[in-house]
Every structure is written in C-alpha cells, then in structure tokens.
C-alpha cells in the first residue's frame, strides 16, 4: 500500500472537512425543521405530563427556552447552540442531550465498529473464496448463504439466534453488554463484554457480509477478464499470484466504496439490534426517547449520528485513496 505524502493528505482532509460543512449545516437545518414539525413543543409535552401546570408557568418555560421567539430567531439560536456543542436539554432525563449521548456512544461504537470490520473481512474472504472456486460447491454454498442472509430481517435473525444459541444451547447471554451484578474487572470484564458482543455483532454483520461477499465475487470475476490479467499471465505469473497480487486489489476498490456508503445504514441497523439485545447504546436511547416523545434527544442522536457518518466516510475515502493511485487529489 502506498503511503501518502503527508502534505497532500492533509490538504485532502482539509478540503473534505470543508466540503462537510454545508452538509452539516444542512443536517442542522433539517433537524430544526423536523423539531418544528414535531407535534407540540417540548414545554407543552413536559407540562402536560406534570399534570395541569398553570399557564403562567408554561409561558415562563417557553420564554426560558426561547420558544416564543420568531422562527428564524429560534433557528439562529439553535445554530449558535450547535456551534458550542449544545444539543439542547432532555426534559425527560433532566440532563443535557450531549451528556446523555456521549454516555451511550461507547457501546454503539463498539458494536458498530466490530460489525463493520467483521462484515467487511468475512465478506471479502467469502467473496474471494467463491470467485476463486467459481461454479463449484463452495461457490454455490457461499451464494446460498449470502442470498438467504440478504433476505432475512435483521431483528428476526437476532431473535432466532437468541432462540438457538442463548435459550436452547445457552452458549451466549441473551441480552445486555455485561453482567452488571458480577462486578468483573480487568480482563475478566473484557472477556465478559466480548461474550455479550458475539451475538449482536454477528447479527448486525450477517446482512452486510452478504452484501460484500456478493459484490466481491462479482468484482473479482469482472477484474479477472481485464486485459492486465492477460499481461500478467503473459509474464509467466502463476494464477495464484495473479489473483492475489493483481486482481484482488483492483476488485477491492468498489467494495471499499460500498462499505463507506453502508456506514449510515449500519448505524440504522444497530438501532434495531440494540433493541433486540438490550445493548445499552445510542439505539436504545433513541428507542426510549421515541416513546417518551423526547424529540430533543431523538434529534440530537440523529444529528450526532450524521456527524459520525461524515467522519467515517472521510476515513473510508482516505483508505480508498491509498488503494487507488488514480484518485485525483486537489
């Protein structure tokens, strides 16, 4: 893999970050608009729940949160708050939204990150295996596996895995991220979390693994017919070397692009998975805020998730750049 000259790389990152600014602004505005569309403002929800609060009190709350201002002023206020990483207040939890989110960020990143790498690695491996042995039983078995996982709803797959591996076989715990009453420390805690992680990670990975496996197989087969493979063969290279040195790297390019595109979807998937496995992450938080009608919190999660996707996309672009010298910089 080619190492980038650092100056170019920095310029690239700088440019990409600048390009991300309008996207972030757009998401912020969208977020604000969604908040306006939400039925009833936060204060009325809060007041309604505290049971017949006096109207003067409600008015006071409205003023306090700036909800009596014209909409553009509110938008400006909202943007100003965003700039200082103030995502607002969760009335339900009585805490700043940002604190709540940061608190739950870790578990989600762990789940998403491990699923991202596991699905990409296993997908690429399966795809290469299938392409190398095209039209054999191995290829067919991989095809059947990926076709089925591709068509299975994530949450149902999770439930069925729980049924098999937790309820029947009792290999893995059914839910949660760790055994909180066991008070494990050090490596014991790591091992405990890993045991809890296996099922949700595998569930979340399966669908994307299928996506990458199919894509990698198709990409390998396409690259195999290119002229440069003929050149490599004419040099006297073994088929093995042709596959792993020439075809593989070219075939990887569209899969890496795809993986970047899928990060946002992966995040969505983790909402469902966290709900199935009671994984204490952002998804769970979003799920709870949904039913508490805590829109401030829900939209805060939405905003930060979008930021996360932008960052991950940048990383994927950098990886792509290292893989493909044709990518023009600047």
């Amino acid at each position: 893999m080619r190492l980038l000259p650092s100056a170019t790389a920095f310029r690239f990152i700088g440019r990409r970050l600048l390009n991300a600014v309008p996207v972030l602004l757009g998401i912020a505005v969208l977020n604000f608009l969604l908040m306006q569309l939400a039925p009833g403002d936060a204060v009325s929800v809060l007041a309604g729940e505290s049971g017949g609060a006096p109207p003067e009190y409600i008015e006071q709350l409205r003023r306090q949160y700036g909800l009596d201002q014209p909409i553009l002023v509110q938008l400006a206020l909202y943007m100003k708050n965003l700039l200082s990483f103030n995502l607002g207040h969760s009335f339900r939890h009585g805490m700043p939204v940002l604190d709540l989110i940061l608190d739950r960020m870790g578990p989600t990143l762990l789940l998403m990150g491990s699923a991202f790498f596991f699905s990409l690695l296993s997908g690429v491996l399966l795809g290469v295996t299938a392409a190398v042995a095209v039209n054999t039983w191995r290829d067919r078995a991989i095809s059947v596996l990926s076709v089925i996982t591709y068509a299975t709803p994530l949450f149902w797959m999770g439930l069925m895995l729980i049924l098999l591996f937790s309820v029947r076989l009792e290999w893995f715990p059914t839910s949660g991220m760790e055994d909180v009453v066991a008070f494990y420390e050090g490596w014991d805690r790591v091992r405990d979390i890993a045991r809890h992680l296996v099922l949700p990670m595998v569930t979340l990975s399966l669908f994307y693994m299928a996506v990458y496996a199919r894509m990698m197989r198709a990409s390998m087969l396409e690259q195999r017919d290119m002229d440069y493979v003929l050149t490599a063969r004419a040099k006297g290279l073994t088929e093995r070397k042709i596959t792993y040195r020439h075809v593989l790297r070219n075939a990887l390019l569209p899969v890496v692009t795809m993986a970047g595109v899928q990060v946002g979807a992966l995040l969505g998937g983790s909402v469902v998975i966290e709900s199935v496995f009671a994984w204490p992450g952002l998804g769970q938080l979003a799920f709870q805020s949904l039913f508490a009608r805590d829109f401030n919190l829900l939209l805060g999660i939405f905003f930060l998730s979008a930021c996360m996707v932008i960052v991950v996309n940048l990383v994927v672009d950098l990886i792509y750049m290292a893989l493909d010298p044709r990518m023009k910089i600047g």
Binding site: P22, G264, V309
Partner: protein, 276 residues
Amino acid sequence: MSSTFWKRFARNRLALGGLVFLVVLAVVVLLAPVLYPGDPFRIVAQPFLPPFGDYLLGTDSLGRDIAAGIVHGGRTSLLIGIAATSAALLIGTLLGALAGFYRGRVDSLLMRFTEFFQTIPTFLFAIVLVAIMSPSLASVTIAIVVISWPPIVRLVRAEFISLCEREFVQASIVLGMSDREIIFRQVLPNAFSPIIVAGSLMVATAILTEAALAFLGLGDPNAISWGYMIGSGRSFLRDAWWLCAIPGVMILLTVLSINFVGEGLNDALNPRLRHS
C-alpha cells in the same frame, strides 16, 4: 422480444419459483377479506394455541388468529413495498434523468442534494420521520420513499450519462428534437432494464424497512403487519417461539422471492452478463 424475454426469464428456475410464490401470495393477500373476514386484531380463542390445531397457525399471546394476521399483514407489507417503491422510482428517475441529461449546474446541484440524503443515516431518519408524523400507513410509506430515492437517482444519472455519450442521442439533438422528446423517447427506454431490476430489488428493501419499523412499534396501529407480529411475540420467545418464527419466515420467503425475480429480470434483460 417478449417471447425471448420470457424464455430467458424462465431459464432461471429460482426466478420462476420466486414469481410463483409472489403470485400465490398476491392472490391470497387480495382474498384476505374473504379468507379471514373481520378484524385480524380480534381475539378468537385462548392464547398460545400451537400451530396445526383448531387454528392453522395457532394463536398469539392475546388469543388472536395468527393465520389471519399473516394474511392481512402480507397486505400491509406488499402495499407499502409497492407504493413506496413506485414513488421512489418516479422521483429518482426524474431527478436522475435531469442530472444526467443536463449535467453542469443542474447536475451538481441535484447531486449535492442526493449526496446529502445519502449521508443521513437512513433508517434513523425513517424512525424520526415516522415518529414526528405519528405512525400510519401513509407516514411509513412516505418515510420509506424519503430514504430510498437517492440510489435510484445515482443509477439513472449514470445510465443517462453513458447513454448521452452515445451518438444516437447527439443525432437526436442534431435532428432538432426537443429535450423532453429526447429524454423520454430516446434515452429513457434504453435505461429501462437497470431501472426495472433496481426497482424490483427495492420492493424487497422497502418490505424489510417496513417490518423493522413495525417491529420497533412504529407501524400503523390499525393495520396488522408481519413486523408488528414479531415485535409483539418477542417476549414469549422462550415458550412460544412460533409467534416470532412464522411471520419471520414469511418475510424471508417474500424478500427471497423478490430477489430471485429481480435477478431473473436482470438475466433476461441483460443477456450479455450470462456468458461472462
């Protein structure tokens, strides 16, 4: 043209099987009011009756007929899947055609817009939308449309760009045809195959999204759906696993069939690919 199309399509056994399954499903679903008249939410017997007893697929935790739920739920899934896909295809094709045909500023603006929607975590966006609009058949459909049109724009745009480089399009310009005629009469018919294939696969994705939303409790409370049935059965996984298993298998089979049909269409519409 059409007879060779069918021959090629039928050569793919899985695609044919998928099509048969979907046709049967469509007929059953259309006959739902006749097969299982009345409200599928109605309690008909005692809860947790296992399948193949008095009730074909048993009863759920409240004593509702699971078979009735499956049939009526299939209606919801297919309805939302097809409606959302049609709308997304319409929007995506139109925007993609404009971007790919005019290029330049129109393209760059439309692509920024599309990219923006692709950056947003789609499923989370759908959740937010449904939550804000409050769950109903319409809001779920709208949410799915909003998150599914961007890939179509990219696909159609790419097709248009490559077709517009073909000289027959330039010939049409030189002949003095209007842009509208060129876009809809000359270019679009040549881009139909990939759009149809993508559209068929998108129905599957829409059904999966609808199921996931319903599973989380964001489905229309008045329309039973497979995702809702799984969601309401999950607490009883240990003792009554079929509550979850049956609707799940239905989703799996439906989505699988759609994918097979999609691949069959791809084989039939792009015959070159078969030999490579």
